[in-house]
Amino acid sequence: MIRLQQLSKVFQARSDSIRAVDNVDLSINTGEIFGVIGYSGAGKSTLIRMLNMLERPSAGNVTVADWNMADLSGRRLREARQEISMIFQHFNLLWSRTVKENIAFPLEIAGVSKQKRAERVEELTELVGLSGRGDAYPSQLSGGQKQRVGIARALANNPKVLLCDEATSALDPKTTDSILDLLTDINKKLGLTIVLITHEMHVIRKICHRVAVMDGGKVVEQGLVIDVFRNPEQDMTKEFVKQVTEPEETLDALKDILKSSENGLVVKLMFLGEDAEQPVMTDLIRTCGVAVNILQGKVSKTRDGSYGTLFVQLQGNKEELDKAWQYLQEHRVEAEVLNDV
């Protein structure tokens, strides 16, 4: 559906130039939810804005559906844009229009008749769960409701692609989840291709099929979300993964235990799959004779399976501990020792 080739964008500042996006190659499949994650200034917004030519590339190609986007201008670009919708971090609704009138806006632009507009607006208000609020003004809505209007508005002309620029970054965690559920729903129901950018791994984990990690304008890592979680290669990716796999204060909480070696081996184990950890733990205790103390644990669900992190303390004599370690290696459980014995 979307193909980026050697895509670059250079901003000319007064004295120097900024390579906001640097030689990016990506392809995104039809019906996929594709996430781009990176820290502030990584070039994510610039990248996504080049998909609908809000930003013109300095070099490279952008193909969306069958359009070579950089070749389009004027009327043809506007027609293409009706099929490539966008939602925004700050919603960007027209405050002078009611919810219904905001949703009707893209339909007016597309020249849809008044009668058809009213029907479609009704449908969309229902779809995004805003029935009954149609005559409210944006200033009377909560952030989550505003984003629902943004989504309804973006879907009005039956687009092929939905671009989300930090669509949940201004929302609280609970509202974020409800918006993400809505996006997943739309993706399933309408088969819409969704590209979303974010700096929260939680968003990627919850709804994306694949993810690309951006740093300094470059895509440094990409793949299936579950693979990236299981096997992050770059340090930055590891940090992002930690955002969701490790409870926030883990290392602080473990600090005291880590200090003294008498407490045995403190190990971080990483599991793939819902119940993978169960037999491993039981076997570890039975065959190796170590005592296993669970310190912390967290299971994260991705679209393609769960992924767990467990912090355990193994206690026993040197021999037993070696045996336990070997057992973990043999059973291909990803393990990392946090203290040295």
């Binding site: 405050w95 893209p106 007016e108 003004y137």
Partner: protein, 227 residues
């Protein structure tokens, strides 16, 4: 009866039919001038905004020319502007006297003033909203008429309210050089013939007009502002 006597005692020189006529002339000049200023000011304000750096019709030359015109006409004191425009007015209206003859000067004096307020109002429109409209495939006319003007309407209305009040005082000045209206009445009948009661009544009439304009402007602005 009592009331009429009171009026005659305190305001002996006021001719009420003349006052009414003068008020109508002032209203005539103000309303037409406000309407024309609104249209011309929005046109100039849009030109200033759209040709500015980073905006839809970015154009240094047109922006600089419009800005220069606006600044020059905004800086000329109104009383001097009227005199400067005498040849233009006689050419356009055919005479230098009467309320209609005041209109060109009124509009040319007020529109640049209003244009700057329009420009400020337009700049307040969230760039993100304009971008959202573009991302939906809006063309420039959609953006002007469906985004920029509606989103800045409260600012445009409160701006025209301020301008219309300035215009009422301009009509009084225009009155002095023969345009008629309440200013003319206060100057000729009141000041020159030393009838302070006439000046007083003309002043009250002008104040009432100003208060009504302010009230209407505030009411519309409040009605429109859904932020």
């Amino acid at each position: 009866m009592m009331f009429n006597n009171l009026l005659e005692t305190w305001l002996p020189n006021v001719k009420w039919d003349t006052l009414w006529e003068a008020t109508m002339e002032t209203l005539y000049m103000s309303v037409l001038a406000v309407a024309a200023t609104f249209v011309l000011g929005i046109f100039l304000g849009l030109t200033l905004y759209l040709t500015d750096k980073g905006n839809l019709w970015q154009n240094k030359v047109i922006h600089a020319i419009t800005a220069a015109l606006v600044n020059v006409f905004r800086s000329i004191p109104f009383i001097i502007l009227i005199i400067l425009l005498i040849p233009f007015t006689t050419f356009l209206v055919g005479t230098m006297l009467g309320p209609s003859a005041a209109l060109p000067a009124l509009v040319i004096g007020a529109a640049p003033f209003y244009a700057r307020m329009v420009e400020i109002g337009l700049r307040e429109v969230d760039k993100g909203v304009i971008e959202a409209a573009q991302s939906m495939g809006a063309n420039q006319w959609h953006i002007i008429f469906k985004v920029l003007l509606p989103e800045s309407m409260p600012a445009l209305i409160s701006g025209i309210t301020v301008t219309s009040i300035a215009l009422v005082s301009y009509t009084a000045m225009a009155g002095v050089i023969g345009a008629g209206g309440l200013g003319d009445l206060a100057f000729r009948e009141g000041f020159q013939r030393t009838n302070p009661d006439v000046t007083f009544v003309a002043t009250i009439a002008i104040l009432i007009i100003v208060f009504i304009l302010q009230w209407i402007g505030d009411w519309i602005t409040n009605k429109l502002d859904k932020r």
